[in-house]
């Protein structure tokens, strides 16, 4: 067991856990942030996508020792700024408007992958959006509405 300190959604976090514990388990079990979902647990489905120092990663593939001193953003942090205005993140709003969520298991990861793409300057080009979310599997929507939602935000930004 060791102590690891990092920022989650702008707030300092400290956990005393084995260094090989997955970031996914630290978020869900140790910090109670259950917005991040576990799908396959092997980096195929992207359900556990979070943003680590600005890059989208699968939280199931990151040992917590590699998160020491770094900045993590999860779906819970997506709307922090917007919540003060009493609203959701523009991406979350777009997902609702476009019907881009059905069962919801992929949605938190999809939002984080899309957010990382847009924050890195991604535009509304369909091919580029599809590439940006290629690591996030959705078995309900057929992706079209998700792509539309992301494109709508890209065009507004």
């Amino acid at each position: 067991m060791s102590s690891y300190r990092f920022l989650v959604n702008g707030a300092p976090a400290e956990v005393d856990v084995p260094g090989m514990r997955r970031l996914l388990d630290v978020l869900r079990e140790d910090l109670g942030l259950t917005g991040t979902k576990e799908g396959c647990g092997e980096g195929e489905c992207g359900a556990c996508s979070v943003i680590l120092d600005g890059q989208v990663v699968d939280a199931c593939l990151v040992p917590i020792c590699q998160v020491e001193g770094r900045i993590v953003r999860t779906v819970e942090g997506l709307s922090l700024a917007a919540r003060e205005r009493g609203s959701l993140d523009t991406l979350q709003e777009a997902f609702l408007e476009h019907g881009a969520a059905q069962c919801g298991i992929c949605t938190p990861g999809m939002l984080m992958a899309a957010r990382a793409y847009l924050d890195a300057g991604g535009d509304g080009d369909e091919d580029r959006i599809r590439e940006a979310i290629a690591g996030n599997l959705c078995r309900c929507t057929g992706y079209t509405k998700i792509v539309d939602a992301i494109a709508a935000v890209a065009h507004v930004d």
């Binding site: 260094g19 090989m20 388990d25 647990g41 990663v57 593939l61 990151v62 590699q66 992958a113 940006a132």
Partner: protein, 284 residues
């Protein structure tokens, strides 16, 4: 929760060498293979892990006297963005772009692809075709191993237990062409059924020289197809030569049936890919 073996995070290469000399430990960098292996219980759980994430000595991309030098911790995303890689080895950029998707490319490293030594490792045929050299090091010193000598058997490499992969060094000779093709189930997130890299130097009337035909997913290790190379060496790939090379390749490969594909498919597709690469190169 998955197993959580003890892990040590050395702050520099000197400390890492000390730890490895004292007791065996499984290195982990981006974790895109190791974490899957532990969570999925694909093999015995390592007794001890060695976290490479603080070893800045293993980072960076540079051109050094005609060699493209990649630190072992270079990620696929860094390869895709690197102006050096785009200019001098675009085939490696293409290979990096086919590995997983953003989540994997942001974490997975070229050193990890080499150490993991999967027969389906997508960068490995490019390294073989490009005559890459792998620099490894430990307390006993550093040594260079040709990529062609590195992959010994199924997931067995020339790396000793007390050594780490430090760099990949790739010569960039003038006039060399290098093409990459991958066949998978879908464009992203797919493990390859067949992956191929073809390198050559056009010597005009003297035909092609330094021909390399390297493949992944068709044998226990990434391999070079030496008989096929011999057909092409010193020849111009006319349609007749291309037919003969493709036929030689199909005869030379001994792939297996597995969950991703069949031996027959792999043999046929490998021959087809080679044929098309030759046709595209010569423009007939």
């Amino acid at each position: 929760m998955p197993a959580e073996p003890p892990i040590d995070t050395p702050r520099n290469l000197f400390e890492a060498y000390e730890r490895l000399a004292a007791a065996p430990a499984r290195p982990i960098a981006g974790g895109t293979d190791m974490m899957v292996s532990i969570t999925g219980e694909l093999g015995p759980i390592p007794e001890r892990m060695l976290d490479l994430s603080r070893l800045d000595e293993l980072r960076g991309i540079a051109m050094e006297q005609g060699w493209l030098v990649l630190g072992a911790r270079t990620t696929y995303t860094e390869i895709r963005r690197s102006t050096h890689c785009r200019e001098y080895l675009p085939a490696l950029v293409e290979a990096a772009a086919t590995i997983g998707a953003a989540q994997i490319q942001n974490r997975g490293t070229i050193g990890g692809n080499i150490a993991n030594a999967s027969p389906a490792g997508d960068t490995l045929p490019v390294l073989l075709a490009a005559d890459a050299v792998i620099l490894v090091g430990g307390q006993r010193g550093e040594r260079e191993v040709a990529a062609a000598d590195f992959f010994i058997d199924y997931r067995k490499t020339a790396l000793a237990p007390d050594e780490l992969i430090l760099q990949v060094r790739i010569p960039v000779p003038a006039g060399r062409s290098l093409q990459f093709r991958k066949v998978g189930t879908r464009r992203a997130q797919a493990i390859s059924k067949v992956v191929m890299a073809l390198a050559w130097r056009d010597q005009g009337t003297a035909g092609w020289g330094d021909v390399r035909v390297a493949l992944g997913s068709v044998a226990a290790t990434p391999i070079r197809a030496l008989a096929t190379e011999a057909v092409l060496e010193g020849a111009r790939p006319t349609p007749e030569v291309a037919d003969r090379a493709a036929e030689t390749l199909a005869g030379e490969l001994e792939p297996i049936d597995d969950v991703r594909s069949t031996a027959d498919y792999r043999r046929m597709v490998s021959a087809r890919i080679l044929h098309r690469l030759l046709r595209d190169a010569e423009g007939w």
